[in-house]
Every structure is written in structure tokens, then in C-alpha cells.
């Protein structure tokens, strides 16, 4: 077949992602997206113009060589494509599923100026799934051992990407995880139907094969302090503990039974598998035929409300104080949620939770809002409409308005610099902190962000740690 002309490439429509039917999937926890077929993937790859200067890469926080891997997909060399991605990304099957590509690589794609951009994320997902399913995840070459040891605190996206880079550079890496399973937010936060845990496990296993050591049940600060890690022979420490301290709204009734933080609700369902109760021992509120509202407009809010729907909620609402346009959630998540029967109530703010004499939630007092002048975030500030209060019945509420920083590292490591929100202050080029040998990245530095931004921070830190290990004078 002769190579396609630019025009022919541009005329291929963006290939649809096969997915479970909405009214079927909202009753199960199986993955929503089913993945491209080989034919669809090659067709989609043929839409790429193979730009001489690929700007899509500028949109990728970890710098995946997007043009080159897509070329290999077009040629049918799926394993070659998988290897190409892995030069820059330790968790491609994860990123292919949860990255907000529409704001990153795909936002830069030249095809996207006039048409729909190339579906880079779906292709990334396809090749990493292809590799895992056909030959198992292959691991890249590792440089000769340097004999240096690095401690990574936290096994979420920032920690895993940093560990993946450091092990390839020849350093020994131990990842310390507070929970009993490795993966951080990928395990406790993001639901099975969006990111199957078997995929996280497979990508973690690949890091283990490379030689990364994992210690679960290790709460750094308590089990060992950071200074003790240095005493134990680690030459550098990367703090990637995530945000991990849920915000509540500080409104009356927030401690009624049936009011959850998104972290607790999702952790019970995802990490502890409460959706399989009583086969698994950990329970969660029985949502069956109940009214459930999730407060917030981010990806976590979408995850929580779609989870509640799958647990049998009669009505599952998103209640958000701004309008649809200001919602930080990915478009795909919002779209999927709507298809699954989630009801969105915009410009509505809770004033108080209402409960019965036994402490159980039974309603919420709401207030209607309108948009005023833009605030510090650049989004128009929601302003209460006077005399617009009303009450709605509610059996369960999930507060998904973000996370503050977890206090354990701060309390046990006072000689690091923190901002007023408890985030660790770093030099953004190297992620180095105020304490020699200690680097930090991910949500504990940035506040709540995305998986891929955390992975980008992990990569930046890994580069700087590598330099530091050969020349400790850089501090």
C-alpha cells in the first residue's frame, strides 16, 4: 500500500472507542472502555501526520515520543511501539486510561486544529495492553549498578515513575508504602471500572522485575523518620506521599452517618473491595435504592458518583456550586457519567446536612448560586442567590472538594520548608527541597492534581537525584 497523503490522513475520522453499553455498565464494576482493536488502532495511527517537529510531545509531562510510537503502530509493530513509549513512561497502560490527553498531547495535535486530534491516549493504551496480553510486559535495559540507594516515600504515580527511572539509571530503589497495597491513588482512589487493578499490579510487577523493592505497611515518619532512612544507608529520599487529608465543607451536620469524604468512600470500595461485601469484610453504606449526592466537580467526584450508581443508588447526583463549564473533571468522565444516568445539579451549594435523632443523614439544605466576577482561579465565582434555599432528601453524601496535605511527614520532619497549606516547597527544576538529599513531588508539592503531572514530577526528580548521587555538591 503506498504511503497515505496528508490529505488522505486528514480525511480519516477519529476512531471510536468501543465501550460497554451505559445501562449495562452502570450495574457492574468492569471497565467501561473496551480498548481499540488492531484494525481500529492502525486506522487511528494513520491519522497522524508524522510532523517533522512534533508539538504533541510538548504537551506530555513525561515527554513520550508520541510521533515515533504512533508510526510503529501504523506499521503494525505494536511491540516496538510499546517499547518506544516505555523509554519515557513507566506506567503506559495506566496513563493511556487516566491522563487528560485532551488538555495535554491531544490539545497540541496539529490534526486537531481543523479535525478531531489523533487519539494518542487510546493508542498508548492499545499498545501497552497489546504487549501485556501477548508477550507480557517487557522491561527496558538497566544501566550497571551504581551502588547508591534511594528511598521513595509513597507508591502512587509520582513515586512509581521516579522509581522506574532511578532503577534504570542503575540505582537501588526502595519504595515505602503506608497502605497494604502498592499503587497509591491508582489503587485506593480510581475505581476498577476506569482503571482495573490488575493493570496497576502488572505495571508494578514490571518495576519489581527491574529490581525496585517495595515495602508496604511502612508509614515514613512513624516506622522510620527521613533522617533514619539516611542513617540506614539511603543517599537520597524522594517524598511522594500525595495530598491525602480530605477537606470537608465545615457545614452543620457533616458528621452524620452517611456523610463520607470521597477518599473514604472510594477507599472502602476500591482498596477494601466493599462492593464485594460480605465476601470481603469491609462494609460501605448500602446505596441500593437510595438517594446519593456527591459534592464537587472534579474527576474524584465523577468516580464517586459513578461508583454509587453501580452500588445501586436510585438517584445519584452531582451537586456543584459553579456551572458545567467550570467543572475540572475530564470531558470523557462527565460524558460517561451522564450516559450512565447521573443527574447533574449545577450552581447549587449545600448549607447544612440534616439528620435524624440516631445521627443518620436524611436530607440536605441547598442554596442556588449564580456566577459573579472571576476569582483567583480565573473561574467565575459562585455567588448565593438570596432566598433560594431548599431541602432535598438524601441518604448518603460524598464530599469530593479536594485534599489538604497529610500532616505526618510535616510533624516528623520539621526541618523541611512548607507553605501555609502544608505543601512541601521545592525548586521546580530539580524538585529538591530545603533539606539536603531530600526531593519531593506530586500532590504533596502541587496540591491535588493529576496522575500524569505527578509522574512528570517523579521523572524530574529522578533526573536531579541521579545528578545529586554523582555530585552531592549541587545543594
Amino acid at each position: 500500500m503506498p504511503p497515505l497523503s496528508k490529505k488522505e490522513r486528514m480525511n480519516i475520522p477519529r476512531q471510536p472507542m468501543p465501550e460497554q453499553a451505559p445501562l449495562e455498565r452502570n450495574k457492574n464494576f468492569l471497565e467501561v472502555n473496551l480498548g481499540l482493536t488492531e484494525e481500529l488502532a492502525r486506522m487511528e495511527a494513520n491519522r497522524c501526520l508524522q510532523c517533522p517537529k512534533p508539538v504533541c510531545i510538548d504537551g506530555c509531562p513525561v515527554g513520550v515520543q508520541i510521533r515515533d510510537f504512533i508510526k510503529l503502530v501504523g506499521e503494525g509493530d505494536f511491540l516496538g511501539a510499546a517499547a518506544k513509549i516505555k523509554e519515557d513512561n513507566a506506567l503506559p497502560a495506566v496513563c493511556g486510561r487516566v491522563c487528560p490527553q485532551e488538555e495535554q498531547c491531544e490539545a497540541k495535535c496539529v490534526v486537531g486544529v481543523k479535525h478531531d486530534p489523533v487519539a494518542i491516549g487510546r493508542l498508548e493504551r492499545f499498545v501497552s495492553d497489546y504487549e501485556r496480553e501477548h508477550v507480557g510486559i517487557r522491561t527496558p535495559k538497566v544501566k550497571p549498578k551504581t551502588g547508591k540507594k534511594v528511598a521513595v516515600i509513597g507508591s502512587g504515580p509520582a513515586g512509581l515513575s521516579c522509581a522506574g527511572d532511578l532503577i534504570q539509571l542503575g540505582h537501588d530503589v526502595t519504595v515505602f508504602e503506608a497502605l497494604h497495597e502498592v499503587g497509591g491513588v491508582l489503587i485506593y482512589g480510581i475505581p476498577e471500572f476506569r482503571l482495573p487493578k490488575s493493570i496497576v499490579k502488572a505495571e508494578v510487577d514490571a518495576l519489581k522485575t527491574l529490581g525496585v523493592e517495595f515495602q508496604t505497611n511502612a508509614v515514613i515518619g512513624f516506622t522510620d523518620t527521613i533522617d533514619e532512612l539516611f542513617e540506614n544507608g539511603y543517599s537520597a529520599v524522594f517524598i511522594a506521599v500525595g495530598a491525602g487529608l480530605p477537606y470537608f465543607m465545615n457545614i452543620p451536620g457533616e458528621n452524620y452517618n452517611g456523610v463520607y469524604s470521597a477518599n473514604e468512600f472510594l477507599t472502602r470500595v476500591n482498596l477494601m473491595k466493599a462492593y464485594k461485601f460480605p465476601e470481603y469484610d469491609t462494609p460501605v453504606f448500602d446505596c441500593k435504592d437510595k438517594n446519593v449526592a456527591v459534592f464537587g466537580g472534579g474527576n474524584t467526584a465523577m468516580d464517586a458518583v459513578r461508583t454509587a450508581k453501580r452500588l445501586g443508588a436510585k438517584n445519584a447526583y452531582i451537586m456543584y456550586r459553579r456551572s458545567e463549564k467550570e467543572m475540572p473533571a475530564r470531558l470523557e468522565e462527565v460524558h460517561h457519567a451522564k450516559q450512565e444516568g447521573i443527574e447533574f445539579i449545577f450552581l447549587t451549594n449545600p448549607l447544612a446536612f440534616l439528620g435524624d435523632e440516631n445521627g443518620w443523614l436524611h436530607g440536605v439544605k441547598l442554596q442556588k448560586m449564580e456566577l459573579g466576577e472571576p476569582d483567583a482561579s480565573g473561574r467565575r465565582r459562585p455567588v448565593p442567590i438570596p432566598n433560594s434555599e431548599y431541602i432535598t432528601d438524601l441518604d448518603m453524601a460524598v464530599v469530593a472538594i479536594g485534599n489538604g496535605s497529610n500532616p505526618i511527614i510535616q510533624k516528623t520532619t520539621p526541618d523541611l520548608s512548607y507553605n501555609k497549606w502544608g505543601n512541601i516547597i521545592v525548586n521546580e527544576e530539580s524538585m529538591k527541597t530545603s533539606k539536603k538529599g531530600v526531593f519531593a513531588g506530586g500532590d504533596i508539592v502541587s496540591g491535588g492534581a493529576t496522575v500524569i503531572l505527578a509522574m512528570g514530577a517523579g521523572r524530574t526528580a529522578a533526573k536531579a537525584i541521579d545528578i545529586f548521587l554523582t555530585n552531592t555538591e549541587i545543594w
Partner: protein, 290 residues
């Protein structure tokens, strides 16, 4: 995996485990807790560390079998292992030489309060222990407490041993005797802790309780263990577990601890049914010996 070195019942349904956990043993201070998970499907159960031995690398926990998981924990014997033990978690007890300190334990709380009583004694306090139980068979650690305490009292609800009455009645007698009491620690069922707080409040005696809410991660990540103290929401796992008894909203704590009562009952009934079934099967499929 954490191996169980020894396991023995102290009373019906209350079992003491010594388990291998060298890192935790080296670090823990009185008042801190661990989270235990017995197997892949198990819940994360927070348990106060009752004692530790740095040299042996072991910690001691004392478990009351109430729900499915705690009953399953108590089916473990020496030589078995727990899948996960994480800690030490929470803030250590604030220990100083207050003067005269009273440590009050109710039920399994007696065992949990014991290490703090030891720490109070070591800090130079004149240490009085009041040890409450429903009846004689449920009295815990009598010998150990007698070795440590300057004065020790046992109360039983039914009068089958020691002082006939509640721990608060004994506490009131001590207060009424006109002795100067500087500090009270109370660990036990919520009604008992609430009653102790109410007893000491009029006298302004500094009183501390250790709260036992439902937890998941135990590191501040989920907020499930929130309680109200001094009209503010706290996360017991990272802000506690010990708080000023006079500021705790015990009513809220009681209600929140009932969140999963229905599920827990279902799980327990299910568990017991399966055990019955297993028992019946074992009996009926056993070959008959002639």
C-alpha cells in the same frame, strides 16, 4: 506477614497476642496503635499496642472478639501469622509527673490503659489504678497491675469480686475522700468514658480518654474516624487517639460507631452460619469408625 509468638485468652473472648513486629516494637510509645489485617479479604482493624519488647522485637495486642473480624483474629494461635500489621500510628500519650494520677480501665480497656499506667508510674506519679469488669471472670491483668500501681482497685458490676459497683463510684469515693487528684486517664466502653468525664468535670480534674472510632487507613487519608472535640472536627487517627475527656462529644462518637452495625451483624451471622455449616459437614462426612 507478622508471626504470632504467643496467644492466650485472658477472659472469655478476650485474647492477648504477642506478635513479631521489630520496627514497631523499637518505636512505639504508650497510647499508640497498630492496624491489623488478617488476610486478603480482611478489614483493617485498629488496636492499641498494649506492650512491647524491643529486645525480642515483639508487640502485644489485646483483642475482644465482638464482630466477625475480631472473632476471626481470636481464632489465631501461636505460630500463625497476621498478613499486615502497620504502625505505630497516632500520637503517643502525653506523660508527665502530674502528681497523683488515676488510670481507669473498663473491660478490655483495662489492658489498653495498662501501658499508660506503667508510663505514668515511671514518670514519678503516685499511680492509682481502677480496673472495672462486669464480673469476676472478666477481670484482667490483676497481678500485673498490682505490681505497678501504688493503689489498685477492682470493681465488678455484679459484686462478684472487689468493689461492688462501677468505676465511677470508686472514683467518686476517692475524690470525696479529699485527696488531691491531678490526672485521670479513662479507657473503655464509651458510656464508661463519658461517665468518668462527667464525674471529674465539676472538680476540674484533667481527664484524658482514648477514642475508638471506625477507621480505614489510620494515617489521616480517609477522614472516616472523625469526631467532635471542643466543637471542632478532628481525625482521631492523626490528631489522637487521646483527647481531653471534657471536650469530647461522646454522643456523636456513639452514633458514628453504629454506622456499620447492620452490615457487621450480617457479616457475623453469615460467618457463624458458615461455621455451623462447616461443623455439620465435618460431622456428617466423617467416616464412621467401627
Amino acid at each position: 506477614m507478622n508471626k504470632i509468638v504467643s496467644a492466650e485468652f485472658l477472659a472469655a473472648d478476650i485474647k492477648r497476642f504477642v506478635i513479631e513486629a521489630p520496627k514497631i516494637a523499637a518505636k512505639r510509645k504508650a497510647g499508640q496503635f497498630v492496624i491489623v489485617r488478617i488476610d486478603e479479604k480482611g478489614e483493617r482493624i485498629p488496636l492499641t499496642i498494649a506492650d512491647s519488647n524491643k529486645e525480642e522485637g515483639t508487640i502485644t495486642i489485646i483483642v475482644q472478639g465482638i464482630g466477625k473480624t475480631t472473632k476471626e483474629i481470636n481464632n489465631h494461635v501461636a505460630g500463625d501469622s497476621f498478613l499486615d500489621v502497620v504502625g505505630p500510628l497516632g500520637k503517643p500519650s502525653h506523660i508527665e509527673n502530674f502528681g497523683t494520677a488515676i488510670s481507669i480501665g473498663g473491660g478490655v480497656g483495662t489492658a489498653i490503659a495498662f501501658p499508660t499506667a506503667v508510663a505514668l508510674k515511671e514518670a514519678g506519679n503516685y499511680t492509682i489504678v481502677i480496673n472495672g469488669a462486669r464480673n469476676k471472670d472478666l477481670v484482667l491483668l490483676e497481678k500485673e497491675i498490682n505490681l505497678v500501681a501504688d493503689e489498685a482497685y477492682i470493681t465488678t458490676d455484679d459484686g462478684s469480686y472487689g468493689y461492688h459497683g462501677f468505676v465511677t463510684q470508686k472514683l467518686q469515693e476517692l475524690i470525696d475522700s479529699g485527696r488531691k487528684i491531678d490526672f485521670v486517664l479513662a479507657i473503655g466502653p464509651i458510656p464508661m468514658m463519658r461517665a468518668v468525664a462527667n464525674t471529674t468535670r465539676p472538680y476540674g480534674i484533667k481527664t484524658v480518654v482514648s477514642l475508638n472510632p471506625v477507621m480505614v487507613d489510620g494515617t489521616g487519608m480517609c477522614g472516616g474516624c472523625r469526631a467532635t472535640v471542643d466543637n471542632k472536627t478532628v481525625f482521631v487517627c492523626v490528631d489522637g487517639p487521646e483527647f481531653d475527656a471534657h471536650l469530647v462529644d461522646f454522643d456523636l462518637l456513639t452514633k458514628r460507631n453504629r454506622t456499620y452495625n447492620k452490615s457487621e451483624k450480617e457479616a457475623l451471622d453469615n460467618h457463624l452460619c458458615n461455621l455451623d455449616k462447616a461443623f455439620v459437614e465435618a460431622v456428617t462426612t466423617e467416616p464412621l469408625h467401627q
